[in-house]
Symmetry: C3
């Protein structure tokens, strides 16, 4: 099953890869590495999850925000790779959680992204992760996610 088929099975329609919000680009490939710019929880051009975890948003909302950032990141990876089966490995997920004083739920909330990568890419979705709290996020976004992936030369490349 290709990652695209798995996304369809999960009922996820990839959006158009969200454009950058300023003077930069949403992804770059160097050698076999693709990296994305910081992905925010955009849906249909609107910020779907704004505010701080532990203040304005519950953890289940944070989980959905992280999942939405991951969907947007996958859209960027598809724009970069053409076909998601060319992704040999999700190598790194950087998860930044907009949160208030004393917040400790970063790992659970970021699993909204990690679970999706594992679900869509299987063994190739197993990634390293960074989890950090941020006191003030651009555009008041609940989550920002940056993703690095290794891309292969062909659709049947086995890494």
């Amino acid at each position: 099953m290709t990652p695209e088929q798995r996304l369809a099975e999960l009922g996820i329609a990839l959006p158009a890869a969200p454009p950058a919000v300023a003077a930069y680009v949403p992804w770059v490939q160097t050698g076999n590495l693709v990296m994305t710019s910081g992905q925010l929880p955009w849906r249909d051009g609107a910020m779907a999850y704004a505010g701080k975890l532990g203040v304005d948003l519950r953890d289940d909302e944070g989980y959905q925000a992280a999942r939405l950032c991951a969907i947007n990141a996958i859209a960027q990876l598809k724009a970069a790779a053409g076909e998601l089966s060319r992704i040999r490995r999700i190598v790194r997920v950087e998860g930044y959680v907009h949160c208030g004083p004393g917040y400790r739920g970063h790992p659970q909330v970021l699993n909204g992204a990690s679970d999706l990568f594992n679900d869509v890419f299987g063994e190739r979705g197993r990634h390293t992760r960074l989890a950090l709290g941020i006191h003030e996020m651009p555009l008041d976004a609940a989550i920002e996610l940056s993703v690095w992936a290794e891309v292969g030369d062909g659709a049947n490349d086995q890494g």
Copy 2:
């Protein structure tokens, strides 16, 4: 026009590449990737922009701080690559903004760096970007910037 010529046209004299402030080095090359340590807004050995955006500094000062960090980063890239025309691509700019409660101007302020990379390197300056707020920065620096670039084998390398 080379990046050095473009810098001259912009009236920018690259400083000596700022040294690291502790037990590390300012840049490393691995394969074709060069990465810099966190670059701060140093000018002539002094911190030119200290304090927090939204509290101590206006956005136009933050823009200049980000631009100055980018100038220092370009000095590091030149130290690494010898000639800036060997830079095939600015691949990633990580922008950390020292800011107070409720600050949302990260994208505009970090354009001070992005605009310069685009201006000096043209198509090769088009980068991915990460924008995050930081509540307490080392040395009270207004901005910290980390830059990744792809470097080629020769001056006329076309990537």
Copy 3:
């Protein structure tokens, strides 16, 4: 002297590489690059340094926390590379310091990690570094460290 011999000389017994705390893996290799997930100051399965620098912890405790994160990162690198002599270069150390209002000791505290990398790996330990303050850290960890290294093809690889 191998890095393992140098560790023994320093009286450091590498722990079992700490497992990830959620739906991800502790390290990934892509090409010649190994990157770790965020390493926390775990010792014998317990968080050895919790709280914020400048509030709950002194700088000398922060230095030890950063050193402990570095030991855990070296355990991950050994898990990835088999033998530490296959590490050609520590290329990047990202140091995140959990800290309270007005804290400025990030560089000194993170030297707890940098000094160890330099001590264990010698010239190959000379790394770039990022130093940032974090207001709320996962699991209340005092320090989080992410490490990138270049790994060679053989034990006597000279980079």
